[in-house]
């Protein structure tokens, strides 16, 4: 299959899955006790029958469910995710406002995780069974066993409360109103604690993956050939072993995209990071159903696209792999 037609097919699949997500979340949210009007009336602190009726009419809740669903799907197809009940703003605007913050944090975390994981994995794979190997294994098991939110709180306790090295909360210094480079630096400093907290959890898995893959690949024929040709050990490790070990890593990164978005609810909450995770939490606790639906849809699309990108990256890293199964 050519790369282009493969991408086309995958895009179609993404659309289909998005429709499935819309349908399922639409019905899921209808399971909640009390209809949306009572929820909204609760928020307004006022709920006589006339008001409820006008609310139901305003949001089309007085129509049959299939009609509501059809209207919603139509609107989504045109890029309209409806209005947030609580914020009375278009859902898409609310999400797009927060999305860059989450993408920034997760991209940073993913980078740290992969870089750190590959490094640790390589150290461990150098001499399997050595002290270095064992300590990498123990460390990764430790990080794997910690609740992520707790790890964040502990990092905050040590690096903010105790040592006063890093800012504990938010995305930038409150009220500093930095601009230009100073602002970028400020955001970068704020990103360290939440970013590394997110990364440590995944770093553990990357380290283990890299280690296994490198040991496996090192035994294979093409590496032996390379060695026989007299290429230096360092070059072998870099050019042949690492490159091949990257493949499972990329697959894994693709699988974790959804976890990264979902997992950041906790880390964003602990560090008050104004991203999609805190937004989702707010949407749940304020019962802002259109916003919740919107978050599901937007993240589903993002994750699908991310998976597509990793698939393509996969084919570049390993030309032997053909796209499409």
């Amino acid at each position: 299959m050519s790369r282009l037609s493969y991408i086309g097919a995958r895009l179609v699949k993404t659309v289909l899955i998005t429709i499935a997500v819309i349908l399922l979340s639409f019905f899921l949210i209808r399971l909640a006790p009390g209809d949306t009007a009572t929820v909204m009336a609760g928020q307004a602190g006022f709920a006589d029958e006339a008001f409820m009726k006008s609310l139901r009419a305003e949001y089309g809740l007085d129509q049959p469910v299939p009609v509501q669903l059809w209207k919603y799907v139509q609107a989504v197809a045109q890029g309209d995710l409806g209005n947030s009940f609580v914020r009375r703003q278009p859902v898409l605007d609310v999400i797009l406002e927060r999305l860059p913050n989450t993408v920034l944090l997760n991209a940073f975390a993913l980078l740290v995780a992969i870089a750190g994981g590959v490094l640790l994995g390589m150290i461990a794979a150098r001499r399997p069974g050595s002290v270095g190997d064992a300590s990498v294994t123990v460390l990764s098991m430790l990080f794997y066993a910690m609740p992520q939110f707790w790890l964040g709180m502990m990092a905050m306790l040590v690096f903010s409360v105790w040592l006063s090295w890093l800012p504990p909360f938010g995305i930038e210094t409150m009220g500093a109103d930095y601009t230009g480079l100073a602002r970028i630096g400020d955001i970068a400093v704020h990103m360290i604690l939440p970013g590394v907290t997110l990364a440590l959890y995944f770093m553990a898995s990357y380290a283990r993956l890299t280690r296994t893959a490198m040991i496996e690949v090192a035994d294979q024929d093409f590496v032996k050939t390379a060695r026989a040709k007299g290429i230096s050990e360092g070059q072998v490790a870099r050019r042949h072993i690492l490159r091949n070990a990257l493949i499972p890593l990329i697959t894994f990164a693709g699988l974790q995209a959804a976890i990264l978005v979902g997992g950041s609810v906790l880390v964003e909450n602990v560090f008050s990071w104004p991203g999609i995770g805190t937004l989702a939490y707010e949407a749940v606790t304020t019962r802002d159903n259109p916003l919740l639906l919107g978050i599901f849809i937007v993240t589903a699309i993002l994750v699908s696209l991310f998976n597509l990108v990793t698939d393509i990256a996969y084919s570049i890293a390993d030309p032997r792999v053909e796209l499409g199964r």
């Binding site: 006790p33 009390g34 009572t38 929820v39 909204m40 009336a41 609760g42 928020q43 307004a44 602190g45 006022f46 709920a47 006589d48 029958e49 409820m52 609580v86 914020r87 009375r88 703003q89 609310v94 406002e97 927060r98 905050m156 306790l157 903010s160 409360v161 105790w162 006063s164 090295w165 890093l166 800012p167 504990p168 909360f169 938010g170 210094t173 409150m174 009220g175 500093a176 109103d177 400093v189 704020h190 909450n269 602990v270 008050s272 104004p274 805190t278 937004l279 707010e282 749940v284 606790t285 304020t286 019962r287």
Partner: protein, 529 residues
Amino acid sequence: MDFDRRAMLGAAAAGMLARPAWAQKPGTTARMRTINAMMTDEPAHLNYPLFNTRIMQEICGNINESLLLFDWQFKPKPNLARGHEMSPDGMRYTFHLRPDVAWHDGAPFTARDVAFSCGVMLPQLNPRSRGAFSHVREIKAVDRYTVRFEMKEPFNAFLLSLMASSAPMMPAHIYEGTNFRTNPYNFKPVGTGPFKFNRWARGQYIHLTRNEKYWRPDQPGMDGIYYRVCPTPEQRLVAMESGAVDLAMADDIDTVVNKRMVANPNVVARSDAFNGTGEICVMEMNHRRWPFSDRRFRAAYMHAINREFLVKAINFGLGKVAHSPIPSDLPYYDDKALTKYHYDPARARALLDEMGLKPGKGGVRHRFGIMMIPDGGGYWTRMAHYIKQALSEVGLEASLESTDWPTFSRRSGNWEFDVDCNSYGQYGDPAIGTARFFLSSNIRKGVPQTNIQGYNNPEVDSLFAKAAVAVDAAEAQAHYSRLQQVLTHDVAMLWMFERKPMFFYNKRLKNVIMGPNGPADGFGSVRLA
């Protein structure tokens, strides 16, 4: 261990010595002349009367002003009204407006705005105003700057009902004839106050900027106010201690760390900033259901709870035990009229025995639910945890029910609960803040913060009615004394404690709290110390 000591000292010293780099403030004058405040969560909009909560009062108090202000003794002072008169029979109030006041968009503030606010918008949107203005027969704009209120009956709390937190003036030229709930100006409010709305960065902050054309020539003393979203309690504490924010109000700082804040040399701590609210934390019971309908059960419930402990350990000494529906430091409180329910588990058990609620399997006499306030693990949650434990000692098994605000409002408004936690403010006069929880006329299904208990006592109804219209102060006192006697004997509500929320501000500021309404009167007077 060095660990916790450092944490304790670190913050106290933060301002003077080792302020970490990220907490350092750029020393620009622009920054110096800006007030930084916090929001625990963002309001949905900035239409003040539509959702009159504390955070709205703190923000919109700077934007929308009231006709009158009140001093520490609750005596009226001029504000948008430069003077007022009451007819001797209390049937007519005349207000003379300042002629030099303009809305933030330049339109003049006139009698039409007052008539619209008090006659249409406030009674429609704000439950407290609805009650208070129901005594008004007609509002007349006599001329451009004179308004006359003709009363149906003399209502002695009328002036107090014009307090800034209850009756902010809203612009008629923007709201009249529109849907108040969807008006686009709900997101860019227009008022007459010392600060005007500038920008709302969702999820981050709301920024107000100084009103250059403010009618008080010497105000505002500062250039602007940022209200920054700080959703977690740890974050708010750090923000306050590091000096990143200047004000911490009411629920911003968890009572757990109160002592530490009070000890902070950079911070001024005030416990009188919310006197005007006169808040009482209570538990409400659904009187439609047995055994909550039985007075003995409610009395037993009160005897089972050590409210001294509640104040001391759960609220860390802030406030005192509430023995009456009226806060003890506000007018009309009458200690002699009260039936008090001291901590006495034996008495509680005896009362339950008398009702026939004998211990069953596992010592349990009765099971019911307590609907919790969603406060993210703050003192409300701690209070519920303690009460569950205290009740279990007398054989009552309460199961705690988590909620979120929409669920809380829905269930309490629709009477789908056994017992809930709540609080109410008196707002100057029992007729304004307190009566609405006990009047049978205010049993309104679907509407939270009404008489959701279903308490129905004709004597109480008539006493409240008579007290509100009594022209003679002694007569009003007599009615309110009798009311306290009846309500406490009935255990008409489970009064827990009078809450004294703290207000903290950085000592670089002064003139922050100027009256019992605290932040709700706005920050026009605030200056650099």
